[in-house]
């Protein structure tokens, strides 16, 4: 009886989650809407309605609150959900003005039980309006087991999360998402197929489709493939589209990584 009466209706827990940051460079509403829709169209499974944090720190020109409200609407139309603004000198007052929370983007922050924090990751700790989960693409049914939840609060022992291992080929029209872990494909990824992981993506074969690593925002995630020829690669939401692979790397074994916010491709030495 007592238990029932005094069980609190809620619990306030601290949680960490990674979110993608939409960093605006040129504040041109029409252009932003077009480009965002194009991005979302490239990887709808991963991006459609994904929560993002809006970073206006570098926006040029500086928008007014009215323009930001307009951008929020257009972003939603284009397929992304702005859930907060980055709390810097520019974002903080604008966040208040448009009625969204302002989040402090984690700078390099060391925790004894954790690898260095991801620089562009938005810390959503104790922000009640922040969504619980990052964007969750439709996984290929049956290809994915129950998601691995990171241990709450307690500084857990580092445990290796086994990768999602699939034989190839992954063919056009198929989508694979390895939530909270690496993805290993022992075979080719065809044009029109999409393979994504919160960790790294390894393709032991030809990569002709789309590959997305760090899908939940981990900028350290990388993509490896034996033969390079993708339609698109993405690391932590940073895209690079290829109409055709550059000659120096076409058909080569490569590593794809994020280099100061830009997607870079380099051949793997034999």
């Amino acid at each position: 009886m007592q238990g029932l009466l005094f069980t609190p209706a809620f619990e306030l827990k601290s949680a960490q989650m990674s979110l993608m940051v939409l960093a605006v460079r040129r504040f041109d509403l029409d252009q932003l809407q077009i480009e965002i829709s194009q991005h979302v169209a490239k990887a709808p499974a991963l991006l459609k309605n994904a929560p993002v944090v809006l970073d206006l720190g570098q926006a040029d020109p500086k928008p007014t609150a009215h323009q930001v409200t307009n951008l929020l609407m257009r972003t939603q139309v284009a397929g992304l959900r702005v859930v907060a603004l980055v709390a810097d000198a520019i974002g903080e007052p604008l966040a208040h003005a448009v009625g969204l929370p302002a989040l402090t983007v984690g700078p390099r922050r060391k925790k004894s039980d954790e690898a260095p924090a991801k620089p562009t990751e938005a810390e959503a700790a104790a922000a009640p309006t922040a969504p619980e989960i990052p964007a969750t693409p439709d996984a290929n049914p049956g290809a994915e087991a129950a998601p691995q939840e990171p241990a709450e609060d307690a500084p857990a022992e580092p445990v290796a999360v086994p990768p999602l291992l699939l034989p190839g080929p992954i063919r056009g029209g198929q989508q694979i998402y390895a939530k909270g872990r690496d993805l290993i494909i022992t075979g080719a990824v065809s044009a029109g197929a999409e393979v994504a992981a919160d960790g790294c993506v390894h393709v032991y074969g030809r990569l002709s489709g789309k590959a997305l690593a760090g899908a939940a925002g981990d900028v350290r995630a990388r993509i490896y493939c034996l033969s390079f020829g993708p339609e698109l690669v993405s690391i932590a939401g940073n895209f690079k589209v290829f109409e055709s692979a550059p000659r120096e790397i076409a058909g080569k074994a490569v590593e794809i990584y994020l280099n100061e916010g830009r997607v870079d491709v380099r051949p793997l030495k034999a």
Binding site: N140, G142, G168, P169, I170, R171, G172, G173, Q174, G187, A188, S190, A191, G192, A193, R206, S208
Partner: protein, 269 residues
């Protein structure tokens, strides 16, 4: 129990029905008891190419609906009495195909015939899905061009994840590629993909290459599958493909431009 082989492609007009008719006659000529089933509900043209369109009384949908028995609907070929055709219906809707209905017909055919050959419609919708769902083997017909190869890739993906074999955790559907409308001249000129290109992209071996050949159209128009035209390249290539499907080792033919012989090629012309 007989084996179910689907002839499929994704893309339309690549030569599935032409292939189904020729493989059916080829298997029959090799002594197999075979039924060929037209899944292209609403269009019906396998019976035309087989030359039995005037003898269609009942069709696939009639059998599913219980209007007649399977026996009544099967049309015996005039050339091979071990070959039967189950025609599609011109008047009915694709929705007439139900999973249970198709399963019943396929299972009954399997108990009667060595091979049940399913001629799939184009696309990846209902008819195409049911045509491949029950397959043990697939002959994926592909033209050496990008759009056809892409669609075949898609179909192979669906087959590997959604076929009955995949759902029941049995060994995968055995996949074969049949390259049709192949023109060695155009491959040499570089405006058509080569066999190697197609095999590499799809990761499946080519079981036969059918050259582009004018005899195909005249064969279709006269209701005599081209495999029965022993003078045509396409007919001979289909005969080879049937042999390979039955496990024989037969060298590839008709891959070179202008039909030069070996010595001619060695010493120039």
């Amino acid at each position: 129990m007989g084996e179910v082989i689907v002839v499929t492609s994704g893309k339309g007009g690549v030569g599935k029905t032409t292939t189904s008719a020729s493989l059916a006659c080829g298997f029959a000529r090799r002594g197999k008891k075979i039924a060929v089933v037209d899944f292209d509900i609403g269009l019906r043209n396998l019976d035309l190419i087989m030359g039995c369109e005037r003898r269609v009384v009942y069709d696939f949908v009639n059998v599913i609906n219980g209007d007649c028995s399977l026996k009544q609907a099967l049309i015996k070929d005039k050339r091979f009495d071990n070959l039967s055709v189950l025609a599609a219906s011109q008047t009915k809707d694709k929705d007439a195909l139900t999973q249970d209905g198709v399963a019943k017909v396929i299972d009954e055919l399997k108990s009667e015939f060595d091979i049940v050959l399913c001629d799939s419609p184009a696309g990846i919708e209902r008819g195409a899905f049911f045509a491949m769902y029950f397959a043990d083997r697939a002959v994926v017909v592909v033209n050496p061009e990008v759009s056809s190869v892409r669609d075949s890739d898609r179909v192979l993906g669906i087959m590997s994840s959604k076929s009955r074999r995949a759902e029941q955790g049995q060994t995968a559907v055995k996949e074969h590629l049949l390259l049709t409308r192949y023109s060695p001249e155009r491959v040499e000129r570089g405006d058509m993909m080569s066999i190697g290109d197609v095999e590499e992209i799809l990761g499946v071996k080519v079981i036969g290459v059918i050259p582009e050949s004018p005899e195909v159209l005249s064969a279709s128009n006269s209701g005599v599958p081209v495999i029965l035209d022993e003078n045509s390249d396409a007919g001979q290539a289909y005969t080879d493909a049937v042999a390979r499907l039955l496990g024989d080792t037969v060298p590839m033919r008709f891959l070179d431009a202008k039909k030069k012989g070996f010595f001619q090629r060695l010493f120039g012309s």
